[in-house]
Each structure stands twice: as structure tokens, then as C-alpha cells.
């Protein structure tokens, strides 16, 4: 693959303003009939009476970007999407903040919704990204993704 891989990673949380700007940027693409958006938010789980205050995300970035490019190409083709945008946070994200933004657009709603869902599931299962859940007292544990 010679073309430069699209970077999905952003440092820190994904702001609601950024999400709004991305939606607004699609108003000129008038063949789109439906968007689907998934937003992942850091959950303040309580484990052994300790509450998660933040998650620190790291990745093997070159591999993650290569895999994401392949997933993107396959899903755009499968669902005839107009476009797909994916953003994942790296670094420390506080509970309540957005750490994942998946945005799919298609002429019709079902394709947009199914593509968004499949992209979220595949990126959680296949991309080398790790979340370290940090508790209020400074201790931590490694996050485990739940099955669907």
C-alpha cells in the first residue's frame, strides 16, 4: 500500500465540538441520506470498591493503522458507503469523556447503521490498542473488552 495511511489517533479526548464540526462538514455531500455515529465514552466502573477515574490508551500505531485501512476499505465496499471516519483517543481520558468516534455515511440508513456497528466491533477486536484503567488511588488494571 503506497498511499499514506489515514491516521485515526488523536491525543486526548474527542470533544463534542469536533464531532459537531465533522457532521457539519458533510452538508455539502448531498448524495448522503443517512449517517450513523458511535461514540465510546470512558465508564467509571467500580471494581473492588474502587472507581475508575481515567483510562490511559496506547497502541502499536503502525500496525493499527494498516489494519484499520483494510477494515475501512472492506466496509466501504460492502455497504456502499459515501464515507467513513474513525477517531480513537490515545493518552489519558477521564471518565465521561469520549474516546472513540465512528461516523459512517451512506445513501440509505440501514447501510450506514450496519457499517457503523461492524466497524466498531472489528476495531475493538482487531486493532492493537490497550486501555489501562486508573483508579482514584492511583492503582490500575488492564481493561478487558466485553464480548458483544
Amino acid at each position: 500500500m503506497n498511499q499514506k495511511l489515514k491516521n485515526i489517533f488523536v491525543t486526548g479526548a474527542i470533544s463534542p465540538a469536533f464531532i459537531g464540526e465533522k457532521i457539519a462538514a458533510h452538508q455539502s455531500k448531498t448524495s448522503i441520506g443517512g449517517h450513523s455515529i458511535f461514540l465510546g465514552q470512558v465508564r467509571a466502573d467500580t471494581i473492588d470498591n474502587k472507581q475508575v477515574v481515567s483510562v490511559d490508551y496506547t497502541s502499536y500505531e503502525p500496525m493499527a493503522l494498516e489494519l484499520m485501512a483494510a477494515i475501512r476499505e472492506m466496509i466501504i465496499e460492502k455497504y456502499s458507503l459515501n464515507c467513513m471516519h474513525v477517531y480513537h483517543s490515545l493518552g489519558k481520558i477521564w471518565s465521561g469523556e469520549i474516546c472513540l468516534f465512528v461516523f459512517t455515511s451512506a445513501p440509505h440508513r440501514k447501510d450506514a447503521i450496519d457499517a457503523c456497528s461492524e466497524t466498531v466491533e472489528r476495531l475493538k477486536a482487531e486493532l492493537p490498542i490497550w486501555g489501562k484503567e486508573i483508579f482514584g488511588d492511583g492503582s490500575f488494571q488492564w481493561k478487558m473488552n466485553q464480548p458483544v
Partner: protein, 76 residues
């Protein structure tokens, strides 16, 4: 022939370093070497990526390859 290995997530935390070098000739040898150097890894599942591709079967390690040890993913 020392080949560099990148470590991520829990593996980076347990070993205390972001990368190591190995003289192992293949990936099975690498797993044995890692278990000997870090006994705690015997209880931890991880995948091996060679040149950014997961390898399941035993694979020869050659100079210049990009090796990485990947604990279970938890993105999103």
C-alpha cells in the same frame, strides 16, 4: 543476530521496558526465552506480530524484521 522486539500494554509494564532484543531463531524459541526471562508471562496470553502481521504457527525470525508482542486488545 539480535532482533529488536517491541512490547506493548501489560507486557511493557511487566518487563519495565518498551523493547528488548532476542537471539531466538524462531517464534517458538522467542516464547520460551521470554518465559525464562519473565516467569510471570507464563500466565499471560499474548500474540506475536512479525512485520505487523500476527503469526500463529512457528515462524523463522530474520534480521531486519519488526517483531512485537501484543497482549489482549482493549481499544474502544
Amino acid at each position: 543476530m539480535a532482533v529488536k522486539i517491541q512490547l506493548f500494554g501489560q507486557l511493557k509494564q511487566i518487563t519495565g521496558v518498551p523493547e528488548l532484543t532476542t537471539d531466538a531463531g524462531d517464534t517458538d524459541g522467542l516464547v520460551k526465552e521470554m518465559a525464562a526471562r519473565f516467569p510471570v508471562l507464563e500466565n499471560l496470553n499474548y500474540l506475536i506480530a512479525v512485520d505487523r502481521t500476527i503469526v500463529q504457527a512457528n515462524t523463522l525470525i530474520r534480521a531486519g524484521q519488526e517483531l512485537a508482542l501484543l497482549p489482549p486488545y482493549s481499544g474502544g
